[in-house]
């Protein structure tokens, strides 16, 4: 249950997916997809094999001590879900699985490509008993590609699909870099989009369907210019430090600030009012005397009409004004903290960002004011733990964490009683 410092009265509103039952076969690549659905009100029933999903034991741990129900990784990825144990390799349990699917709207799974078919539990088998079922299968290369049988991790999925090629440093003797875990997150985003799209169609057409999601395809289409520069112009982008990979090198955008932290300087000043604000800020800081070129800021501030950017490097005045803009930012950054630089630049209207560590962003007053820090009650520990909050604010059908992640088999009795009594939330809703 959510008890936020900024508690809002959610008692009357329900999540957008209230009444939708999702059966999720526990696997790391789709845990995030299940959470996104569960936190929007879906009744996500997480199915684990006997002994539990391996990610129950992933670090980091509560108080750094490994042990049962101490994985913070598990806590995060399985909020708002109920947990049961089913041994799909056991014929009796398979019957129970069938009766569970018979009450479900969605099956979300990332099993090895041929596993469910071999067990007689693939879409054809399941839709025979539940035509309304939406079966979303997430595999490395899609259900039809034998390459999906290859072993994989988030790292190899991303390397195969493009993101690391574009990320890294100007110095190409350093390796390309992959953003940790984002390969699985991207696959999960497409799994969620698929679930929602198929649900809307089912509301109208009455039938479910099978959806084949490819993790590598998902990351392939999440590389921005790397893909379309090749598709459109058959040219290859090259990685650069902290900025967009590009066919031709571009100017650096990361600036080291006085406190040893970085800021991303984005697009330098290019409008008269921006030069005016920058000139004023430089004077406020008493730094104008250190920058003889500051006179060009005033010239930029008084410029008639918009600048012709094509004249940079050709016209002396325009070149000097734009050079002064960059130099002024560099000088200010070297004298103030990254956070002060970020706030000051934004106040002059420049799209600049402080390079925060995740916890620094989490503690920032802006996100706190928006209620992003959310308390989740851990009844078993008799404490409330602060979690990251909603990715979007749906005003009428809000996001909420309805419960902490389940213990192994915590809801076995509850779920199977419901099924046997056929009194699922779904049936109630109808």
């Amino acid at each position: 249950m959510t008890s936020s410092p900024e508690t809002h009265d959610d008692t009357k509103s329900v999540g957008a997916l209230d009444g939708v039952r999702v059966v999720e076969l526990a696997r790391a690549p789709i845990a995030w997809a299940g959470k996104l659905l569960a936190d929007m009100g879906a009744d996500v029933i997480l199915v684990e094999p006997p002994g539990g999903d391996p990610s129950r034991d992933y670090p980091p741990y509560l108080d750094d001590q490994p042990g049962e129900n101490r994985s913070l990784y598990w806590w995060h990825y399985h909020t708002s879900k109920r947990g049961i144990v089913v041994d799909l390799d056991d014929s009796g349990d398979r019957d129970r699985f069938f009766s569970l699917v018979a009450t479900a709207d969605v099956l979300l799974e990332a099993e090895p490509r041929t596993r469910l078919g071999a067990l007689g539990l693939d879409y054809d088998d399941l839709q025979a008993i539940r035509p309304e079922l939406i079966h979303v299968a997430v595999t490395p290369y899609g259900r039809h590609d034998p390459k999906s049988d290859l072993p994989f991790t988030d790292l190899t999925i991303m390397a195969a699909s493009g993101p690391p090629w574009s990320c890294g440093y100007d110095d190409h003797s350093l390796p390309p870099i992959r953003g940790p875990m984002q390969g699985y997150h991207t696959a999960s985003h497409f799994a969620v989009l698929s679930v929602l799209t198929a649900l809307l169609h089912r509301d109208i057409a009455g039938r479910g369907q099978f959806v084949d999601v490819s993790m590598t395809a998902a990351n392939n289409v999440t590389t921005e210019s790397a893909s379309y520069t090749w598709l459109v112009a058959q040219r290859t982008v090259q990685r650069q430090t902290g900025r967009h990979a590009s066919v031709s090198p571009s100017r650096e955008t990361q600036q080291l600030c006085a406190d040893g932290r970085y800021a991303n300087t984005g697009v330098p000043p290019r409008r008269p009012h921006e030069f005016a604000a920058l000139d004023k800020w430089l004077k406020e800081l008493g730094l104008d005397a250190e920058l003889p070129e500051a006179v060009f800021l005033a010239m930029g501030a008084n410029w008639e009409g918009p600048f012709d950017l094509a004249k940079i490097g050709r016209d002396d005045a325009v070149t000097a004004i734009f050079g002064a803009g960059r130099d002024a930012l560099k000088l200010i950054a070297s004298r103030v903290s990254a956070q002060a630089f970020f706030l000051g630049c934004q106040r002059t209207g420049l799209a600049v960002g402080v390079v925060n560590a995740p916890e620094e962003a989490f503690e920032d007053p802006h996100f706190k004011a928006r209620g992003f820090q959310v308390g989740v009650v851990h009844d078993d520990l008799r404490r409330t733990v602060v979690y990251p909050g909603a990715p979007y604010a749906l005003k009428a059908s809000p996001w909420a964490i309805s419960r902490r992640a389940p213990r192994l088999g915590e809801h076995d009795a509850e779920v199977f009683d419901e099924i046997e009594g056929r009194c699922s939330p779904l049936d109630d809703a109808r």
């Binding site: 493009g162 870099i177 953003g179 929602l196 799209t197 392939n220 790397a226 893909s227 802006h366 909050g389």
Partner: protein, 411 residues
């Protein structure tokens, strides 16, 4: 083939990628997405409209490669909202739409007289989804952002790098893509809610906030254990924190900027890896257990790199693949698009027909639906391309009236 979302119409003010990427998903599944652009500025609010890459070096407001990629399958009309007549037309369009979507800075829709309250007066069950960097409330809600700024502020830039160096960050706007995915989810969630309750709503999406959700375990390590990610030895993006694995990294290969990613998940993977490499260090007790390999990762990475650098990346891939170890060459765009048959076989790069560019390949969707699959056939709309079609079909305007509106500078 039937279309999953053909029951829905979107009055779409989005642009760039963070917004346009969202409505691209909807259009791929048959939603009628009508882009509304400003004729006075030739739609240049969307900076991608006339920007490179260009096909055959042909430049122009309708020839931007990125714009075409993100807007394939949508309709495009122009409305000069400085005029009362255009505002009236927009009201009529909203009356027959399900969704209004935008990714402007906060306050732009209000300034035009189309804030949420007004939208609701026009269409009581309208779904309004706004997507901006910091959202519409909170101390930074007036701040300006674009993808790299969102990534910087939210921690994604910081976590993508090597220890002791400046952040490597992202070589593209990961959060424009991902912000678009969250925006599409928000639209679909609100549609599901409306289908069930009849109630519309406003969704306030802050791209930085959506990005912050992507650090879950690290944030709990902070709130529960007080451990920051800004600490010695971190970030080390190519290593695996959860679960721990070693070796786990991107290693150099013979060739021009060629690299390979290798991950040993468990003792079996390590055993198979050691067998393939077959060098004496693989048998040293110092690397026998996961704990010892983790403790000696820097050294181990050097040794692995010294082995891979003598081989081609696809050779390493083949050797380790046959041994059952997770491995992949770091694919260059031309390799994953044109050489890796799996993307083409999946139909990932459909060709669209663009009236001025000709046939051009775009990003498809990485999914296939058995009953109502996506379809991307038409290119991104030229400026005002569908003025006549949309205004006639939806609002019943005649040819002469449309010509007059064009003359008056309304369209």
């Amino acid at each position: 083939m039937a279309e999953a979302l053909s029951a829905f119409r979107v009055c779409d003010f989005t642009g760039q990628l963070a917004g346009a990427g969202a409505t691209k998903w909807l259009a791929s599944f048959g939603a009628e997405v009508i882009r509304i652009e400003d004729p006075v500025r030739q739609g240049r609010w969307d900076i991608l409209r006339g920007s490179p890459p260009f096909m055959d070096e042909r430049r122009g407001i309708n020839l931007g490669g990125a714009f075409n990629n993100h807007n394939a399958g949508k309709y495009g009309i122009t409305l000069n909202l400085r005029t009362a007549k255009a505002k009236r037309i927009l009201e009529q369009l909203i009356e027959v739409s399900d969704v209004v979507s935008e990714n402007f800075a906060k306050g732009v829709m209000e300034r035009w007289g189309f804030g949420y309250e007004r939208l609701r007066e026009i269409k009581p069950d309208i779904i309004y989804v706004s997507n901006c960097g910091f959202g519409h409330s909170g101390p930074y809600s007036d701040f300006k952002t674009w993808g790299p700024i969102v990534q910087a502020v939210s921690g994604l830039t910081f976590t993508s790098g090597l220890p002791g160096r400046e952040p490597a960050g992202w070589g593209y706007s990961y959060m424009d893509h991902t912000g678009a995915y969250f925006m599409a989810m928000a639209i679909l969630l609100a549609l599901v809610h409306r289908q069930r309750t009849g109630e519309g709503q406003w969704v306030d999406l802050a791209c930085t906030e959506a990005a912050l959700t992507l650090h879950g375990p690290a944030l709990l390590d902070w709130t529960v254990n007080g451990r920051p990610t800004r600490r010695d030895g971190q970030p080390h993006a190519n290593r695996s924190q959860w679960p721990p694995m070693a070796p786990h990294g991107i290693y150099p290969c013979r060739g021009d900027d060629d690299w390979v990613a290798i991950a040993c998940r468990d003792p079996d993977d390590w055993g198979h890896f050691a067998e393939v490499v077959g060098e004496s260090w693989c048998r040293e007790p110092a690397y026998a257990s996961l704990a010892s390999r983790l403790a000696a990762q820097d050294e181990l990475d050097q040794l692995v790199g010294a082995w891979t650098v003598r081989r081609g990346k696809f050779d390493v891939e083949t050797l380790l693949r046959e041994a059952g170890v997770p491995v992949s060459a770091v694919m260059k765009p031309e390799e994953r698009i044109d050489l890796d048959a799996s993307t083409g076989d999946f139909g990932l790069w459909p060709s669209v027909a663009h009236p001025e560019m000709g046939d051009v390949r775009v990003d498809g969707q990485p999914v296939h639906f058995s009953e109502t699959n996506w379809r991307i056939a038409r290119g991104g709309p030229c400026l005002g391309e569908h003025n006549a079609e949309v205004l006639t079909r939806l609002l019943g305007l005649g040819e002469e009236e449309i010509a007059r509106l064009e003359e008056e500078g309304v369209l």
